[in-house]
Symmetry: C2
Subunit: 200 residues, 2 copies
Amino acid sequence: MANDTKERILEAALEMFSQNGYAGTNIRELSASLGLVKSGVYKHYESKEAIWNALLDQMIAYYADRFGSADRLPPVPDSPEDLTRLTMRMVNVTVHDKKIAMTRKVLTLEQFRDPRARELATKHFLTGLTDMFTRIFTGMMEKALLKKDDPAMLAFAYTAPISALIHLCDREPEKTDGAMAQIEAFSRHFISIYGEAGHE
Amino acid sequence: MANDTKERILEAALEMFSQNGYAGTNIRELSASLGLVKSGVYKHYESKEAIWNALLDQMIAYYADRFGSADRLPPVPDSPEDLTRLTMRMVNVTVHDKKIAMTRKVLTLEQFRDPRARELATKHFLTGLTDMFTRIFTGMMEKALLKKDDPAMLAFAYTAPISALIHLCDREPEKTDGAMAQIEAFSRHFISIYGEAGHE
DNA sequence: CATTATAGTGAACGAAAGGTCACTTGTCAA
DNA sequence: TTGACAAGTGACCTTTCGTTCACTATAATG
């Protein structure tokens, strides 16, 4: 025992599924990338679909652990500039962390096929960010850093464009730098509109 | 001759590729959906990949014809309310037109595999809408319907959230009505922020 | 009417897919 | 030392895939 092959299979599956999709991946290649022969994989998972479901379980658990609970919320920014800094820090992680980026790709590719992937995709791409920033903006309005407005609407207006550029980075990685700059510019523009006048 | 089978194959391919992806589609099913036996397809296309390329050609040409030229631009709205009306009309078409919706799905599924799909996806999901509304907003600023600002930035801030909700409709069609309402609410909110004061 | 190209059929093929199984190897507990 | 078990191998099975091909029916052409 004391073997991590079962986990390594999931890692390899994430990599291959995110590049070629579930249907476009075969377990011969998958196992070869681990230095195994394909029958070896079946010692750990009973089928290709079982690998997929285990991977999805892991992605769902990871998301719940990392973004699901309210207490994991980043601190409310102390200034408008802090919002931009917080945003850029989060975006940088999300774009450059290989595992998170591959998770997004997998969800993109399988969202029409698997109901659980669909649900998780909506969280990753839309509601997760919106909910998070709804709380942040509520806090900022209480601190009088943002003009009073519907925080959920502002969060949607703030996160959706950022999410669109993250998708662009996934699709065309060579545009990552430009997209990052655009996110920062957008964040500043957002603050210039919604930031409470009187705060430096 | 006088046969439209070649076109019908592309229609069926769009349908199947948009649901199951390229790798997840087999030509037995594809031809069966046309009342053919699979070998019949090869009288019209020499391979599965040739079908895919022809479909992509058609999607690219369709996009260029419909959204590519500047003269196809919708008229600049005459009032802020008109912007919402124009937006809702465009979104309604884009969401409910089966062919356009399937095109988006196919591009979503194949964007990481095919460079041409990748390029078209970026146009469909990001730059196309942004460019279009950059022109519209420029016109609205000239008419003093919008506060003077960077029209490209406003267009990005306006279209990206709408695009996110269109994606939601593709992913979870049962949420279409809610998404539509949210788009309309967002449009009005946008106008309440950027609309030039003094216009009713 | 004879001809010829076109659209479609059905059987067959080789390759590749997912999956099974008898067997070997290495590790640990009794 | 031995027994048991988990991990990995390689041959093999079945199904399905994309593709080919000889053939037929049809409809337009000379």
